[in-house]
Symmetry: C2
Subunit: 338 residues, 2 copies
Amino acid sequence: MAATLKDVALAAGVSIKTVSNVINDYQHIRADTKQRVMEAIAELGYSPNLSARSLRSGRTGVIGLAVPELSLSYFAELAGSIIKAAERRGLKVLIEQTGGDRSHELEILSSPRLQMTDGLLFSPLGMSNEDAHHLNVNFPLVLLGERIFGGPTDHVTMSNVESARAATAHLLSKGRRRIAVVGAHEGEVIGSAGLRLQGYRQALEEAGIAFEPELVAYTTFWHRANGARSMRELLEAGVAFDAVFGMNDTLALGAMRVLQEAGRRIPDDVAVIGFDDLDEGRYSLPTLSTIDPGRDEIADTAVRVLQERISGRDGETPPREFEARFQVIERESSALPA
Amino acid sequence: MAATLKDVALAAGVSIKTVSNVINDYQHIRADTKQRVMEAIAELGYSPNLSARSLRSGRTGVIGLAVPELSLSYFAELAGSIIKAAERRGLKVLIEQTGGDRSHELEILSSPRLQMTDGLLFSPLGMSNEDAHHLNVNFPLVLLGERIFGGPTDHVTMSNVESARAATAHLLSKGRRRIAVVGAHEGEVIGSAGLRLQGYRQALEEAGIAFEPELVAYTTFWHRANGARSMRELLEAGVAFDAVFGMNDTLALGAMRVLQEAGRRIPDDVAVIGFDDLDEGRYSLPTLSTIDPGRDEIADTAVRVLQERISGRDGETPPREFEARFQVIERESSALPA
DNA sequence: CGCCTATCCTACAACGTTGTAGACTCACCT
DNA sequence: AGGTGAGTCTACAACGTTGTAGGATAGGCG
């Protein structure tokens, strides 16, 4: 059986509360009392019962993180960053996988399954902007991602429009003029796909190049297979292009594969850039140019903001939006001018 | 404020304990009483306080998972599988990252930081067999991975030797005779690298082929960069080979990249097989043959065994070893006979 | 008719912790 | 000498839940 405050108190010849005070660094304790208590703690190998502490304090020191799937590299890396950020602030992270499924996401918001957390970092994929009102919950919630904007909670996101514009501008700076896009979502305005497409169009416009619908490939998901399939369709349709903007690295890698099978040289014939800065792109053949969306900054901000909401220090501060700084990373896949 | 049993009891006109009984499906409750309580619960939006429940029952319903890094694809996918397996059994998962660092791993075993979990799934990377005694802890612990064998706890692992033998045999069956290995660890006997090298040698021996030390490339880590560097060294040393066994997919992908840069055709000139069945290998160019180590089975077994230890049903059952079933997956990288 | 058992419900204590209120000592000031 | 205040410590209650013991009612049996 684990030792309790009572056992330590008995061993040290003091009251339970004094032991509690020692543990919580209460100021006014005589040095020798403190010493005796510390010794008793060490001897009995005492450590506080966190359930009891939580019951008393109403805090668990645990935050929840809901992501679609850890097998999606972006979310695995995000989760890793968040765990590190949480650790720096003395918090533990409990991870839920939603599968990117809207009903599963709503269930997580409403069900009492995460009663053992102080708050939630929520990265939905299936929900859309019309679901924003579901974010009105009675626990601290910080929204991640690009599915919902202007919701009732704090929101940490990447600069989708601007970084997509920068990615496109990067390809333009290499002299590319017919830039295909892979991963658009039919009719989407808000959401990673919609915003990144918007950035793409802005860059074209600034360069005085007409937007050509035939260069846009639509997919439902953002897996490698989707990137590969889209590229196959573009090639079969006989669309001419000298560059590809993959809406994420995974799509770009899938597209690259098909391009190479078809005998197109990268970057000589077609320059490629992705989005996310996954580890994988650093070792692909050729290495993949990409956008570093500032994952560590997103993680750090999200945890910080959630902790502020949990502590209640910020009172009734209205919902805030945070955009992480991004960076264009040029690698082999876009190194050559056309 | 969240509703408590007391509030519900008051609203339903029954005792606190009756509400508790309704929630816990106690048998002898009159239908109409139950009905009234349920209504009160629904109306007040009551949900149990898990801290209080934990304090009372001594169980939290949370298990810990300690892995090196979620940015390593294998562990991200393993974590995903484990979360799903845990969910099926009504458990939540709290993830720690050790960084694969021995001292950090030991700290997790000794420190009281995971007092809020009922048990731990532990996948060390830095610890070695001599550290086995550190696994003697006073909480339920299930060991994962290949770093330690014969320790004092239950252990779930993949069939390293046999599946490495099967991978090698697969290459042999394609007529390959000079099979390079990438990812060996100098002097290691136990551990993924040592065991897989052993399987490689067994397969050679069975085929009556001499083991050639010059075909073995040593690395300290198993990242893509290591696979790439090893392959560069092999090529520079002028060693002849017609196949490569990468000790994991990441190494194999790194090696493939360098092979292609050097103008070797895969699988025509060099057949390649990896190990882990990562999603990435399914979309590489060419697609990567690999070993499916039975990740879901590992996850499911690990969670099941841990839950058994937690419930104490198994009493003083001695430590058990579990080996998941593996499978050779042939893809393009090894499809052609030499 | 009285006893026994099954059903349905309640009061109370306990899990281990921390906040509150207050007791006691001692030095210091008026 | 009495009052004040800081320092040190303790007793008690409370957080919300569940196990234990037992009370009340009703039906079945000898």
